[in-house]
């Protein structure tokens, strides 16, 4: 057992996968330049020493290298492609949505596209083009699985499942959870580190985890918001409000069994997300529960989200934009005390 931050844990897990399967390779910008940072957040730092031929530094050409990764995956390789900030996925959108996501289906199931895509999300003082929580843009996409590790343990387990599988997987990682160190440390970071067991473990997709048990309300959040929900739950505990916090871990597929079981107990549901409310993650979760399990509820489903605006730069506005612990607490109180 070793305690690791997410960036460090991902680095270890990628190295292990590359060691056990030579089809695995990494491709992206600045991922393995001696003297560089190992991608934007140190995840692949130093890996060029061990795997010089399988760490492919690309020009700034997101569409191109995602497409190249797709072509290599079709030939049986297992690329791990990353963008420095999830926002840049928009540059590669055609390759991801029209090729990577569809090729299996449109070949009648004859092809596999075993590609792992990694993308850092989160609102972090960089202004509107380095801030988007891109999960919401990928939720409607069919053909790509989506996971969101909020802890180092999950990052390792989910990454292993992704790399060992045969389907395209998008891993959204949060800039404030990496635990990146030194020059790449982030202000406002939250600790996402875990003890990582020595033995090889994986985490299947579609299995949510109950991060904290509670009776009064079920709160769902991923990545940074999951941690804020935990903090809110902690605070409310002191007021006698008992909050159950669920971390879906994978958005596609989504574990509605665990969620419904929880609602059956608490009869209240809140979803917390960092992106704007309109058509966010919460929309799909709320709509599904409203459709399939409305009887379990005795309060309206509440979505806590960013406002329907672009991400502002200035700290006072940015803090207002991102759901904060106090806001989550207030909203929960309102529901419970109503």
């Amino acid at each position: 057992m070793q305690k690791m931050g997410i960036a460090e844990a991902l680095r270890m897990a990628i190295r292990q996968e590359m060691a056990r399967d030579e089809r695995v390779f990494c491709i992206g910008e600045d991922i393995a330049i001696p003297g560089g940072w190992g991608g934007a957040f140190t995840v692949t730092l130093g890996m060029e020493k061990e795997f010089s031929h399988r760490m492919i530094n690309t020009p700034i050409s997101e569409a191109g290298f995602f497409g190249i990764a797709c072509g290599a995956a079709l030939m049986g390789m297992k690329p791990i492609a990353d963008v420095q900030y999830a926002d840049f996925l928009f540059c590669a959108m055609d390759q991801i949505c029209n090729n990577i996501a569809k090729l299996r289906y449109m070949s009648g199931g004859k092809l596999n596209v075993p590609i792992v895509m990694r993308a850092p999300v989160g609102v972090t003082g960089r202004g509107s083009q380095h801030a988007q929580n891109m999960e919401t843009f990928f939720m409607p996409l069919q053909g790509v699985k989506i996971v969101c590790p909020a802890t180092a343990y999950d990052a390792v387990g989910l990454l292993r499942t992704a790399v060992r599988g045969q389907d395209p997987v998008m891993i959204f990682e949060h800039k404030l959870l990496y635990g990146s160190k030194g020059a790449r440390a982030e202000s406002g970071a939250i600790d996402g580190s875990s003890e990582i067991p020595e033995e090889d473990f994986t985490i299947p997709f579609g299995q949510a985890v109950v991060r904290r048990c509670g009776d009064d309300i079920t709160v769902v959040g991923t990545l940074l918001m999951m941690h804020k929900c935990l903090q809110a739950a902690e605070q409310l505990q002191k007021e006698g409000i008992s909050v159950e916090v669920i971390d879906p871990r994978s958005l596609v597929p989504f574990d509605y069994v665990t969620l419904k079981k929880s609602i059956a107990k608490t009869s209240r549901l809140m979803i917390v997300e960092e992106s704007p409310k309109r058509s966010g993650i919460g929309a799909e979760i709320a709509a599904t529960i409203a459709e399939e399990a409305v009887d379990l509820l005795n309060a309206p489903i509440k979505r806590i989200a960013a406002p329907d605006t672009i991400v502002p730069f200035s700290p006072p506005m940015e803090n207002f934009y991102v759901p904060q612990v106090q806001r989550i607490c207030n909203e929960i109180r309102q529901i419970i005390l109503k």
Partner: protein, 323 residues
Amino acid sequence: MTKEKYSKEFLLEIYQKMVLIRQFEERVKFLFLEGVMPGTIHQCQGQEATAVGVCTALKKDDIITSTHRPHGHAIAKGVSVQSMMDELFGKLTGCCKGKGGSMHLGDLEKGMIPAIAIVGGNLPLAAGAALAFKMREEKRIAVSFIGDGATNEGIFHETLNMAALWQLPVVFVIENNLYGASTHVNLTIRTDKISERASIYKIPGITIDGNDVLEVYEASKEVAERARNGQGPTLLELVTYRITGHSRRDPCLYQPAQERAEAKKNEPIGRFGKYLVDNLYASHQQLEEIENNIEKELDVVVEAAKSAAEPKPEDALSDMFAE
């Protein structure tokens, strides 16, 4: 045409393949106009020499990627004509089990990735396949067919740049048929030869007559071997002409009548047939026989396709994920 000597068998096989493509396309066009075939089509009549010339230079386990206009490429690479016709009819026995359709034809077992209908979108798939071959030190190459119009997409630039940087075993084949949909290439590209676009990546760019099947074959063989021997990618421009509509029911009013007329005179099958007869490789009669045999073959193929099993509606739900 070439000065080299080829066996009669080899030449007739090339002829046979070009005619097969032409007749396949004509048959499909008829079935469309008749209203019995679903979907939409982009056909390649007049461009048979590019598909056949290039693919004849490839090995079975080499890979091609194709476009919205893939029928010729598929036939030339050896995808079963029956499985293609079945696919066009949306049958379960189609090469994509009815899930792809005309614009996504392909069969990886025959070395063809399902065609990509987003203009330019197929380019990096070929480069990526080539990357895989290079990393695994396999002596295979990848070929990407694109149109003149596709060279204006950003992905063209990104892909060629990386392929050149990493000296990937890939060939980029431009079928320059002078138009992207209704837009003439002069409205979209300022270089005289599109192959000049290779220069900034420091890879060879070659422009040749794409309606001369042997010239295409020979050039392809050369650049394929370059790629195979680790000497990197080439941009090969084949100048040709589409003597049919861009898509179903296109009357091609944007093509000047005289240009069309000349193009018809210059179309590759007639030219190659004449070459074969002039050089005593075959008689008119023999060529006609080839044509007739294909006609009959296609009769069977069409009938079989029509009576092949439809997918069940709920089959739409399968094939999403491997796991």
